[in-house]
């Protein structure tokens, strides 16, 4: 065998690269079609959204977004005719359906609740997780292995399995339907993931860096802050994304424990359906807006996310 025809054992051949590309593209298409469909629906009019056969090409309309952010009341044609001319697009489409805008909907406050609860709990989980992971990684913690296993064991059942005790407990403690309660709950669920992920990342940072800093005249806390944390940013970012995705998308606890002031977007969005018929464009618009923050966050941190998934496998 001559060397020129021998193929490398580590570099994939062109054929296998092509097969991989086809598979990835196929998978990406399958995953993205529902999202694209939701996005398209959010710009349809209600009749277009339920048309059969489904419309691929349609006249885009922001009616769904108007309906998402407003509440409307049905009025008589005479009353609508007596009103001054419509000042905005939303007024116009609403009147066409024999309705007038009565005020803003609850979507915006629910969305803000989601932001506060998801980012708040992510911050808490990552903060506590980083400190715990550093402790487990660097100090001789009595029963460290058992403690780590205990932390992991909290993930061994679906969190919703403890829904009823938590529901009763929250009612007693007055945490039901409060942002604080939801932040505490999501932090508790996420902190185990954060400890385990971050411990892996911090284990990879050689102790010599902190030792060097401590010899250079810093306390351990200063060394942690100035030397360990900057090197753990990749791991912290990856962990933060995982925590955020969980807290942002969580439905079951949110539906159970929040109903009013602290309700998050996931349990709110389905309730849109009930207002004035099956308003699919409004539901789709709500879903689209709901997807934006996580999309932005993931795109901003995608490199870290990739390293988070492959962590441990690749050394710098």
């Amino acid at each position: 065998m001559s060397l020129t025809t021998a193929h490398s054992v580590v570099v994939p051949s062109t054929t296998s690269k092509r097969i991989a590309a086809v598979l990835i593209i196929a998978y990406a298409l399958i995953s993205i079609v529902p999202l694209l469909w939701i996005f398209a629906t959010s710009f349809k009019t209600p009749p277009d959204s339920i048309a059969y056969p489904p419309k691929i090409l349609f006249q885009p309309s922001t009616e769904g977004y108007c309906n998402l952010f407003t509440t409307r009341t049905r009025q008589t044609a005479e009353y609508i005719a007596s009103l001054p001319p419509a000042t905005s697009f939303c007024d116009e489409v609403t009147r066409k359906r024999n309705m007038v805008i009565a005020g803003p909907s609850n979507f915006l406050p629910r969305f803000v609740n989601s932001l506060i609860i998801a980012f708040g709990s992510t911050f808490c989980a990552v903060f506590l997780g980083t400190l715990a992971a550093y402790g487990f990684s660097r100090f001789k913690v009595p029963l460290a292995d058992d403690l780590l296993f205990f932390i992991l064991s909290t993930r061994m059942m679906p969190p919703i399995a403890v829904a009823i005790p938590i529901y009763l407990m929250y009612r007693e403690l007055g945490l039901s339907d409060s942002a604080l309660g939801m932040i505490l709950l999501y932090t508790a669920v996420n902190v185990s993931l954060a400890v385990w992920l971050l411990k892996g990342f911090i284990d990879e940072i050689p102790r010599e860096y902190e030792e060097a800093a401590m010899i250079d005249g810093y306390t351990r806390l200063q060394a942690f802050w100035k030397v360990v944390l900057p090197q753990a940013t990749t791991g912290i970012a990856a962990t933060a994304i995982f925590c955020l995705i969980f807290a942002w998308n969580e439905y079951a606890f949110a539906a159970l424990l929040t109903s009013g002031t602290a309700q998050t977007a996931p349990p709110f969005i389905p309730t849109i359906i009930g207002e004035g018929g099956q308003d699919w464009p409004a539901v789709a618009a709500g879903t689209t807006v709901f997807l934006v923050p996580i999309l932005v966050f993931t795109i901003l941190l995608r490199k870290q996310l990739l390293r988070g998934i492959t962590f441990g496998a690749v050394r710098k």
């Binding site: 050689p206 010599e208 860096y209 030792e211 060097a212 800093a213 401590m214 010899i215 250079d216 005249g217 810093y218 306390t219 200063q222 030397v227 900057p230 090197q231």
Partner: protein
């Protein structure tokens, strides 16, 4: 600058003793090397001096101050790590200035001092580069710069040349020694490489299994090894040992090794018959056809000016360093003779060197 005194230092980790009752003094301005194989306790000793580990018992004095239980940052020392531990998220300038920042020095002053040190180490042209792209030698210089910039009482170095390639190593050995001569700071240097130790040290401590086997100048350690371990560890190829059984009498100048009478430095103690060994460095063995100690040549390693000839004798394999001009053929039988004044005798059971005239005048380790 200060002397370092280590008294009865001991460190136990769960289940095993890393360092056993070490006592030594490093004089002010001395370049002291702790030498030994991995796991011998040299790095643990260094880390205890640095304050990165606390001793189980014993005392450490820096200058006149007892620092045994003080934190690393409260001891005025600098440490150069094996892998340098340059902070990857800072550039060269910030790395070198980092210890000064901890002291709360004004920025302008830090800048001035960092540049001064960079000039001394000839790295002033890379000050604003990130440390990740630096070559091994430059990383080493940055690590040294970070150590020097604080003007500490002493420098501690943990195999700082271990990761460099051979060419750079020679260069850095030279640079390190030159730097030491210029700033004269007390230095404790840990290595497993005897050549590094021999070429840099004022004093060497050879360690094995947590025990300091011998403490002395490179010359003492090489020429007058106090134990079989030291004799074997130092030198390449190491010392030859000819095992024999017999007793020794004070005042004798020859020993009988398996029937052959061999001249040795005058013996200074009486030894009851026991298992002993005669130690001879390869360079103290000559080819001599008249000698009674004969053996078959197994091979010769040509080194340019000398060659190492391996001979199989009745006493085992013997390596002799002979001039490259000697003609030796594999398979032929040659005679070997020793330079009697340089031979050592050991008690095989304890590994201890037997007192002879060789050790006279030499301070005890």
């Amino acid at each position: 600058m200060a002397e370092i005194r280590v008294e009865n230092l001991r460190k136990e980790f769960s289940g095993f003793t890393a360092v056993q009752n070490s006592t030594f003094t490093v004089d002010d301005g001395e370049f002291f090397v702790m030498l030994g194989p991995s796991g011998c306790g040299k790095t643990t000793t260094l880390r205890m001096i640095a304050g990165l580990e606390l001793p189980t018992s014993g005392r450490i004095l820096l200058g006149s101050e007892d620092v045994t239980m003080k934190r690393a940052r409260e001891r005025d020392i600098a440490f150069v790590f094996q892998l340098f531990a340059l902070y990857p998220h800072m550039n060269v300038r910030k790395n070198i200035g980092f210890p000064l920042l901890a002291q709360g020095m004004p920025r302008a002053e830090i800048r001035k001092q960092v540049e001064e040190v960079a000039r001394l180490l000839r790295i002033d042209h890379i000050l604003d580069r990130p440390v990740s792209g630096l070559a091994g030698g430059d990383r080493q210089r940055v690590a040294l710069g970070r150590a020097i910039v604080r003007r500490p009482l002493c420098f501690l170095m943990d195999e700082p040349l271990g990761t460099l390639d051979a060419e750079f190593r020679d260069l850095m050995v030279h640079e390190l020694r030159e730097l030491h001569n210029r700033i004269g700071a007390t230095t404790v240097y840990v290595t497993h490489d005897q050549l590094e130790a021999m070429s840099m040290a004022d004093k060497i401590a050879v360690m094995n299994h947590g025990i300091i086997e011998q403490f002395g100048s490179p010359r003492e350690i090489y020429d007058r090894p106090r134990s079989m371990y030291v004799a074997d560890f130092m030198g390449s190829p190491p010392m030859n040992f000819l095992p024999f059984h017999g007793g020794l009498a004070r005042g004798a100048s020859t020993v009988s090794v398996n029937g052959a009478e061999i001249a040795v430095p005058q013996i200074r103690e009486d030894i009851a018959p026991s298992a002993l060994a005669l130690g001879a460095r390869p360079e103290h063995i000559r080819l001599d056809d008249a000698s009674g100690l004969r053996g078959e040549v197994l091979g010769a390693e040509y080194l340019g000016t000398t060659q190492i000839v391996v001979v199989r004798t009745g006493d085992g394999l013997i390596r002799a360093r002979v001039p490259a001009s000697d003609h030796v053929r594999t398979g032929e039988t040659v005679g070997l003779t020793f330079s009697g004044a340089y031979l050592s005798l050991f008690d095989t059971a304890s590994g201890r060197a037997i007192e002879t005239a060789l050790y006279e005048g030499a301070p005890h380790g």
